[in-house]
C-alpha cells in the first residue's frame, strides 16, 4: 500500500518541477547549474515554494534575543531572524530548496522549451558495436565454462547407447568427447555515436564573463546531445596564437593571453577528427566560441581548412561569437561569406547572457 505521504511528496515534486520548467529560461541564462553536474542528476536550486499569508515585513519588526552584546550591535541580516520567539525552534529556515533532476529529464525540458527537433543521427546502420551473449554451446572451450548438466547428459546418452550403463551401479564417467562448453554469440548492437569538439578562444580579449557564457552554453548543448546519442565523446580545444587539446577542467578554467590565430585551432580539430573519429562512423559536432578577433592574415587559412576538411565531415559546425569589449568581431563576417554554400555551418552572435537561450535554439534547431 502506498503511503499517503508518498502521494503528497510526488505531488510536491511535480509542482517544483513545474516551477522549474516555467523558469527554465532563467536557469539557462544564468549559470546556476554549472558545477552541479553529478553523474546522472543535477541539483537545481529552486526558491522555496510557500503559501503566502498576510505577514509582517522587516520594516518596523524586531524581537527578543539572549546573549552578549551592546546596544547597536548587529545580530543578523534582514530577513534572517524568525518572525518572533513564538516560532523559534520549530520554524524551518527559509532556505533555497535543491531539486534533483536527472540530466535526461533536463534535456527533455530543454527540448520542449526550445522546441528543439529530435536529431536524426546519421550512420545508424553503419556503426555497430557488438555485444556478447552466452546463449549457445560448443564442444570446445575452457574448463571454467564447462556445462555440467549437458556434459552429464551427453555421457549418460553415450553410456546407454554403448551398453556400458549398469542400472545397479549407475556410474557415469564423462570422456573428453562428452564435454560441452558454454559459448557466446555476438549480437550486433546498432549505435549512434557522436563526437563533440568544443573550441574556445582564450586569448587576452576573452574576459571571464565571456567564458562564463561559453561554459553555460556548452553545458546545455552537452546535455541535449547526451540525450540524443548513446555515446557522446567530448573533446576540448583551446587556442590563442597556438592551440592545444585539453581536458574539460582546463577548458573551463584557463585564462591565457596573447594573440589569436584561429587556424591553429582548426588544425587541432582536424587532426582530432582524422585520428579518432572517422566521419563515416561518427556524428561530429563542432562548437567554436570566440570573440571574433582573429589575426587578419590568418582568415584565409581558416576558411580553407574549414571548408575543405572540417565542415564536410561535420553534422554541424557552430560558431558562436561572444561580444567582447576588446575584440573586433570580424571573424563572423568572414564566415558569413561562406555561409551560403554550407548548410551545416551555423552562426550565432551572443551579446550577453540572455542571448544564450536563443543561441542554443539557433544551433540545435535544425535537428542535425
Amino acid at each position: 500500500m502506498g503511503r499517503n505521504i508518498d502521494r503528497d511528496l510526488s505531488r510536491f515534486k511535480n509542482i517544483v518541477r513545474g516551477r522549474l520548467r516555467k523558469d527554465l529560461r532563467r536557469y539557462i541564462t544564468h549559470g546556476e547549474m554549472l558545477g552541479r553536474k553529478g553523474r546522472e542528476v543535477v541539483s537545481i536550486p529552486v526558491p522555496n515554494i510557500s503559501i503566502p499569508h498576510f505577514q509582517h515585513g522587516p520594516k518596523g519588526s524586531g524581537g527578543v534575543g539572549q546573549g552578549e552584546g551592546d546596544v547597536g550591535q548587529p545580530i543578523g541580516r534582514g530577513g534572517q531572524p524568525g518572525d518572533g520567539p513564538g516560532q523559534a525552534g520549530d520554524a524551518p529556515g527559509r532556505h533555497v530548496r535543491e531539486v534533483e533532476v536527472s540530466l535526461d529529464e533536463l534535456a527533455e525540458m530543454l527540448g520542449e522549451e526550445l522546441e528543439l527537433p529530435r536529431i536524426e543521427p546519421k550512420g545508424k546502420d553503419t556503426i555497430k558495436s557488438k555485444k556478447d551473449r552466452y546463449t549457445t554451446v560448443r564442444r570446445t572451450g575452457p574448463e571454467s565454462l564447462r556445462h555440467f548438466k549437458r556434459t552429464y547428459k551427453q555421457a549418460l546418452k553415450r553410456m546407454i547407447a554403448s551398453n556400458d550403463y549398469n542400472i545397479d551401479a549407475p556410474r557415469i564417467i564423462p570422456m573428453r568427447e562428452d564435454h560441452i562448453y558454454r559459448s557466446w554469440k555476438s549480437i550486433p548492437d546498432p549505435q549512434a555515436n557522436a563526437a563533440v569538439i568544443y573550441v574556445m578562444d582564450v586569448s587576452g580579449s576573452m574576459t571571464d564573463d565571456q567564458k562564463e557564457i561559453v561554459r553555460t552554453e556548452s553545458f546545455w548543448i552537452d546535455t541535449w546531445l547526451q540525450k540524443q546519442y548513446d555515446g557522446v565523446q567530448t573533446r576540448y580545444v583551446i587556442h590563442d596564437a597556438v592551440a592545444r587539446e585539453v581536458d574539460e577542467d582546463t577548458f573551463y578554467r584557463t585564462r591565457e593571453s596573447g594573440g589569436t590565430r584561429i587556424s591553429s585551432a582548426y588544425q587541432v580539430a582536424r587532426s582530432i577528427i582524422q585520428r579518432e573519429f572517422p566521419p563515416d562512423a561518427w556524428n561530429i559536432y563542432c562548437f567554436q566560441f570566440s570573440d571574433g578577433d582573429n589575426w587578419g592574415e590568418d582568415n584565409n587559412e581558416c576558411i580553407k581548412i574549414l571548408t575543405d576538411e572540417i565542415i564536410p565531415h561535420c553534422n554541424l559546425f557552430c560558431y558562436g561569437q561572444v561580444e567582447s569589449p576588446y575584440g573586433s568581431g570580424d571573424f563572423i563576417r568572414e564566415l558569413r561569406k561562406i555561409n551560403e554554400e554550407h548548410e551545416n555551418l551555423i552562426l550565432s552572435e551572443i551579446g550577453n547572457k540572455d542571448d544564450i537561450y536563443d543561441s542554443i535554439k539557433t544551433f540545435l534547431g535544425k535537428g542535425k
Binding site: 503511503r3 499517503n4 505521504i5 502521494r7 503528497d8 511528496l9 510526488s10 505531488r11 510536491f12 515534486k13 509542482i15 515554494i49 503559501i51 503566502p52 499569508h53 498576510f54 505577514q55 509582517h56 515585513g57 522587516p58 520594516k59 518596523g60 519588526s61 524586531g62 524581537g63 527578543v64 534575543g65 539572549q66 546573549g67 552578549e68 552584546g69 551592546d70 546596544v71 547597536g72 550591535q73 548587529p74 545580530i75 543578523g76 541580516r77 534582514g78 534572517q80 531572524p81 524568525g82 518572525d83 518572533g84 520567539p85 513564538g86 516560532q87 523559534a88 525552534g89 524551518p92 530548496r97
Partner: protein
C-alpha cells in the same frame, strides 16, 4: 487511528512508561491516557509533516514538509525527538533508534505536555477527538477530489490556507451576539423613531418669544436635510458587518459566493486552524512546562549513573539559546523555575515590590513554600502573552541577558535595540501577540456598494510584507470573486492595496 496496526511497545520501554507515568502522577500531573507508539524516522517525519495526525487530506505542503524533515535528518542537520498530539487519549511517538536515555527523557517530557493539554484553559475547548475529525476531513476532501479533480480542489485549498491565520483565536472563549446584524437593517430603525416626524429633533428648549432666535427655522431645516442625507447614504452603502470582524474566514463562509464543496473545504481549513491555535498561543508555556517536568523527573528519578552525561548533553542541546531566536523551551523552563523560586521565598506582592534595599531583596525569604502550587496555577490559566506579562521581571531579563532587537532599515541588519526591561517586555509581548502576525479585520463586505471586500490591517508600527500581501490578496479574491482591498501603512503612509482579479493597485489613502 494509529498509523498502522498497533504495535505493542517493547517491554523495556513499556516498563519505563509505567514508571514515568507513576512518578508524573505522584507529582500531581493530571493527564489523559497516553499511548506511545514506536516508529522509525521515516514514519516520524511523515507524522510530523501531517502535524501529528496520520490521516490528512491530500496536499502538497505535507509532502514539502516531509521532504524537508527527511533531508534535514539525512544531512544530519536536525532531528525530531518527540511528537505528541492533543487528543484523548493522547498519542505520542517515540523514535526507534533513540537510546534508552532519550526514550526516558521524551516519555517524561510527553507527560508534561499531556498534562498541559488537559488542564490549560486555552485548550479547554479544543476537540479531543481531533484524530477522527481530521480523518473525516480527509474523507470529505477526497470525495471532492473525486468529483472535481485534484487540481481544482488543491488550488482552492491553497487559497484557503493562504488565509488560514485570519481567525479570531479568542472567539471560542467569548460569547458574542448570536448573529451579526446587518448595518443596513439597523439603519432603518431611526426613521421609525416617532420623535423625528414632529420636528422636535435638534430643537433647543426655549420660550415662545425667543423660539425663532434660538431655533431658527432655516437652520432646523438644514439640519433635517442633513440627517435625511446621512440616512439615505447609510441605507445606500449597505455596509456590513456592523463591527469590524476579525474572523475573516467566518465572514467568508457566511458571505462569499462559494459552491457547496468550496464552503465545506473552507470550513475544514477553519476548523483545523482553530484546533491548532492554542498551540501557537502557548508555545513557551507548553514547552517550558514539559521541559520543567522532564528535567525534574529525570534528575530526581529516571537517570542511572551511566546515563547522566547523555542526558545532560541532550537537555542542554534543547535549551541552547541564540542571539537571534528566543528558545521557547529555555525561556519557559527558566520562567517557571523563577516563579517557583519566588513563590517559595515570597518574593512577590506589594511588600517585596516596594522594598528599596537591594540586599534585602536579594535575600528575601519568607519560607512560604508556595512555588509548586503557584506553577500549577500558572499552567492552568495562562497563555504565553499573559504569562510573560505577569511574570517577566527585570531581574530575570538581566540574569538571562535578554535584549530586544530591531530592524535597521538603512543597514538591512537586525541590531540590538535595548537592554531596558520595559522595552524588552514590550517587544516580547508584541511579537507573541497574535503569534507575531498582523491583526486584520473585515470592515466592509460591500465596499462602495459594489460588493467589494474591504479589510483593515490594524497597523502597530510593523509594516506588511508587500509581495506576500499581494499574493494573499489574489487568493482572497479567488474566494470573494469581487475586487478585494486591504488598508494598511506602507512606507509610513496609509495605503490601500487592491486586487480586482486582473491587476494589482496601490493607492495612498
Amino acid at each position: 487511528m494509529p498509523i498502522s496496526t498497533h504495535r505493542a511497545l517493547p517491554s523495556d520501554i513499556a516498563a519505563v512508561q509505567d514508571d514515568m507515568q507513576q512518578i508524573a502522577a505522584d507529582y500531581g500531573l493530571d493527564f489523559f491516557e497516553t499511548i506511545f507508539e514506536i516508529v522509525d524516522y521515516e514514519e516520524l517525519s511523515m507524522i510530523a509533516a501531517y502535524g501529528g495526525f496520520p490521516t490528512r487530506y491530500p496536499h502538497w505542503r505535507f509532502g514539502a514538509q516531509y521532504d524537508e524533515l527527511m533531508k534535514g535528518y539525512s544531512y544530519g542537520l536536525q532531528k525530531i525527538y518527540e511528537m505528541v498530539i492533543n487528543t484523548d487519549p493522547c498519542y505520542a511517538y517515540l523514535l526507534r533508534c533513540n537510546a534508552m536515555t532519550d526514550q526516558k527523557l521524551v516519555i517524561a517530557h510527553v507527560y508534561g505536555h499531556c498534562d498541559f493539554f488537559k488542564n490549560n484553559a486555552w485548550f479547554a475547548l479544543t476537540n479531543r477527538k481531533m484524530l477522527d475529525q481530521m480523518a473525516n476531513h480527509a474523507a470529505r476532501v477526497n470525495r471532492y477530489i473525486d468529483s472535481h479533480g485534484q487540481e481544482a480542489v488543491e488550488e482552492f485549498v491553497d487559497a484557503c490556507l493562504s488565509l488560514e491565520d485570519l481567525i479570531d483565536p479568542h472567539s471560542p472563549h467569548i460569547k458574542r451576539t448570536e448573529k451579526p446584524v446587518r448595518a443596513a437593517s439597523t439603519a432603518l430603525e431611526p426613521r421609525k423613531d416617532p420623535s423625528e416626524s414632529d420636528g422636535s429633533v435638534g430643537r433647543f428648549p426655549s420660550k415662545d418669544y425667543m423660539d425663532a432666535y434660538i431655533n431658527p427655522p432655516d437652520v432646523l431645516q438644514q439640519e433635517a436635510d442633513q440627517r435625511e442625507e446621512e440616512l439615505r447614504q447609510a441605507e445606500e452603502s449597505r455596509s456590513f458587518p456592523a463591527e469590524p470582524q476579525r474572523d475573516v474566514l467566518l465572514f467568508l463562509l457566511e458571505n462569499a459566493p462559494l459552491k457547496d464543496w468550496e464552503r465545506d473545504v473552507l470550513s475544514i481549513i477553519r476548523d483545523e486552524a482553530y484546533y491548532m491555535a492554542p498551540q501557537g498561543q502557548t508555545k513557551i508555556m507548553n514547552e517550558g512546562w514539559a521541559s520543567y517536568w522532564h528535567s525534574k523527573i529525570m534528575t530526581h528519578h529516571g537517570l542511572t549513573d551511566a546515563e547522566v552525561i547523555d542526558y545532560a548533553d541532550h537537555h542542554s542541546g534543547t535549551m541552547a539559546t541564540s542571539p537571534q531566536r528566543l528558545n521557547p523551551y529555555k525561556l519557559g523552563i527558566e520562567l517557571l523555575k523563577d516563579i517557583e523560586e519566588r513563590w517559595n521565598t515570597g518574593q512577590f506582592g506589594p511588600d517585596y515590590e516596594q522594598c528599596d534595599d537591594l540586599y534585602e531583596k536579594e535575600h528575601w525569604d519568607k519560607h512560604l513554600g508556595l512555588g509548586r502550587e503557584k506553577i500549577f496555577e500558572v499552567r492552568r490559566i495562562h497563555n504565553d502573552v499573559t504569562f510573560i506579562d505577569t511574570f517577566l521581571t527585570a531581574e530575570f531579563c538581566h540574569k538571562h541577558k535578554m535584549f530586544s532587537f530591531a530592524y535597521n532599515d538603512s543597514s538591512d541588519y537586525y541590531e540590538i535595540a535595548s537592554r531596558e526591561f520595559d522595552e524588552i517586555k514590550q517587544q516580547l509581548l508584541n511579537s507573541l501577540t497574535n503569534h507575531g502576525r498582523p491583526f486584520i479585520y473585515v470592515t466592509d463586505g460591500n465596499h462602495k456598494n459594489r460588493g467589494d471586500l474591504y479589510l483593515n490591517h490594524n497597523y502597530r508600527g510593523n509594516e506588511l510584507k508587500l509581495d506576500y500581501a499581494r499574493d494573499t490578496l489574489v487568493n482572497l479574491q479567488r474566494i470573494w470573486r469581487r475586487p478585494v482591498h486591504i488598508e494598511s501603512v506602507i512606507d509610513d503612509k496609509p495605503t490601500v492595496l487592491s486586487y480586482d482579479g486582473k491587476s494589482h493597485e496601490m493607492k495612498a489613502k
